[in-house]
């Protein structure tokens, strides 16, 4: 006698008894850091997902009110920790907008190169980690070897391999030299074959495509309505890149394209990230050959940047200026006003809303974190997919917990 199958669910009934509740995180390998999801399952299908966040909330914005504009860069570093310098660029971009400083052309180019290296850095980890979660371990190791090279470049420039804290108001910590540029050139040359290798490992890999294509589709309208930016929005066909729309640093001088896709699924996000690395390489190649000569910090007569160390040790003017900047009751003039500035970080639009109250500390240092906004759309993306797709979607969103919770 054939078995009669009972009628399964009507999907809207989220409080039915046969539904499972599965707790996912906050300590789970596929969450990479500390995310927590409470999934409601109908068999293997995800009926609903409720993200719970705050497991890494450490009061960044409160600290921003207690540290001055240069000190806070160390905290900003730890926000999106897989591309630290990208955060610094955004923070000091906004601070310089608030203070009305125009940085030197050399500084612009150096920051551009580092920003693009960080984009590669971020996308490499993301592509590697998605592959790792979906079972392709090799790509992860390939990606991490290249990340170590970028660490070396950052270490050469700033002295710290991970959290460089390299930018300063109106400039950077140390000037770069030819050896550094040579290191960047070597990285670019060495990265090209690895990028091709990653393509060969993943882009046409049958398992990878099956696990990512058509999964977690985000339409362009939803992307705009839910405030999604960056590679996620571009993978859904939203043509939006702050590097083109509101050019900053050296981007107006450089030739590059915005990478967009139409699919809006996990695979499109992967492809967009891979292609963006290619575009970043193009930018770095152009920028590293055209780094202008001249000072890297804004004019030393202003009371904003620290003077060079030889000037501090050997001249009274340099020493006085050093004191003027560092003394707590001196510092630089900050307007009694507030402003929003944003840059295109690897994850999307990373913005800061700074309120200045005349002192050298921000009165309020609000971050507009892309991960926070992207994680909010997760339930929308996962509904109706299976449990195994949770890691694919989560990986493709590239949620960084420290940026998510701050």
């Amino acid at each position: 006698m054939p078995l009669e199958l009972a009628e399964t669910s009507d999907p809207g009934a989220a409080d039915q008894e046969y539904l499972w509740t599965l707790n996912f995180g906050p300590q789970h390998p596929a969450t990479h850091t500390t995310l927590r999801l409470v999934l409601t399952l109908d068999g293997e299908n995800v009926v609903d997902a409720a993200p719970h966040i705050g497991y890494l909330h450490s009061g960044f914005e409160k600290l921003g009110e207690y540290l001055d504009f240069n000190q806070y860069v160390t905290i900003v570093d730890r926000m999106n920790y897989i591309s630290p310098i990208a955060n610094e660029l955004s923070w000091h971009h906004t601070v310089e907008k608030l203070l009305g400083i125009e940085i030197t052309p050399r500084c612009k180019y150096v920051r551009t190169i580092l920003g693009e290296l960080m984009r590669i850095h971020d996308h490499l980890l993301n592509v590697g980690a998605v592959a790792l979660d979906l079972g392709a371990f090799t790509a992860f190791l390939y990606a991490f070897t290249q990340r170590e090279r970028i660490y070396d470049i950052a270490e050469y420039a700033s002295g710290q391999r991970f959290h460089s804290s390299y930018t300063r108001v109106g400039g950077v910590l140390f000037d770069v030299n030819n050896d550094w540029a040579e290191k960047v050139r070597q990285f670019v040359e060495g990265f090209k074959p690895v990028h091709a290798e990653l393509h060969r490992l993943l882009t046409r890999n049958r398992i990878f495509i099956d696990r990512t294509k058509g999964i977690g589709v985000l339409t362009a309208e939803d992307a705009i309505n839910m405030s999604v930016t960056g590679p996620l929005a571009r993978a859904s066909g939203v043509v939006r890149d702050l590097r083109k729309d509101e050019p900053y640093l050296a981007y107006p001088d450089l030739d590059f394209k915005i990478v967009c896709a139409r699919g809006g699924d996990c695979y499109s996000r992967y492809v967009v990230r891979m292609q963006e690395m290619q575009e970043s390489l193009k930018i770095i190649e152009q920028a590293v050959e055209n780094i202008p000569a001249g000072p890297i910090n804004v004019d030393a007569v202003t009371d904003i940047t620290l003077p060079a160390k030889p000037a501090v040790y050997r001249s009274i003017e340099g020493l006085i200026q050093h004191f003027e900047v560092l003394m707590p009751n001196r510092g630089y003039p900050v307007p009694l006003d507030e402003g929003y500035g944003a840059t295109e970080s690897p994850n999307g639009e990373l913005g800061f809303y700074i309120v200045g109250d005349g002192t050298t500390r921000a009165y309020r240092a609000r971050t507009r974190p892309p991960s926070f906004i992207h994680f909010a759309i997760f339930p929308h993306l996962i509904r109706g997919h299976t449990l195994s797709d949770v890691v694919a979607v989560l990986g493709s969103l590239n949620i960084i917990a420290a940026e998510l919770d701050r």
Binding site: G54, I224, S227, L336, G339, G351, F372, F375
Partner: protein, 163 residues
């Protein structure tokens, strides 16, 4: 480009405008905030809500209101940005939610509530988001100390012999 006269003819002369660098700002009274935001979205094409945040002006020089809620808007067609600010005061700061207009406002408003205690009437899921549910203070208010009130030490201790 949005003209201020247009806004004022629609919402009255108390809507003020100011500019700082490339930021354009509109100040609007709290009771007209929702109407203005809805108008900006539906009639003026500000279809992306970039961020919602708040500022506590407790000890700010020459501040007249305690809180400002800040909406950062973006018009995706013209790439024009606009900042809308509205002032609120204790004891019961409350605004209507904008989740019906922009779905992305959901978590941003929850965060503002979590950090400042500003309520958003009609929000579909009005809970704390970052701090634990049993936490009672609002950490980003200026009268809350940076180092907290000792909540971070209020946990049981596990020793070697117990574990």
């Amino acid at each position: 480009m949005l003209a201020i006269g247009e806004v004022q003819s629609e919402f009255g002369p108390e809507v003020a405008e100011s500019t700082f660098r490339d930021n354009r700002r509109l100040y609007v009274p709290a009771d007209k905030a929702y109407a203005l935001l809805a108008w900006l979205k539906q009639a003026r094409g500000f279809d992306m809500l970039v961020d919602v945040t708040a500022v506590d002006y407790l000890d700010y020089p020459d501040a007249s209101d305690r809180f400002h809620v800040v909406y950062l808007l973006l018009n995706m067609a013209t790439k024009e940005r606009l900042v809308v600010k509205t002032a609120l005061n204790p004891p019961d700061p409350e605004l209507p939610t904008v989740v019906p207009l922009w779905k992305g406002a959901d978590w941003m408003e929850r965060e503002v509530f979590d950090m400042f205690g500003i309520r958003f009437a009609g929000h579909p899921d009005h809970r704390r988001i970052l701090m634990p549910d049993e936490f009672t203070a609002f950490p980003l208010r200026k009268d809350y100390p940076c180092k907290g009130l000792g909540e971070r030490h209020n946990f049981p201790v596990i020793t070697r012999s117990e574990s």
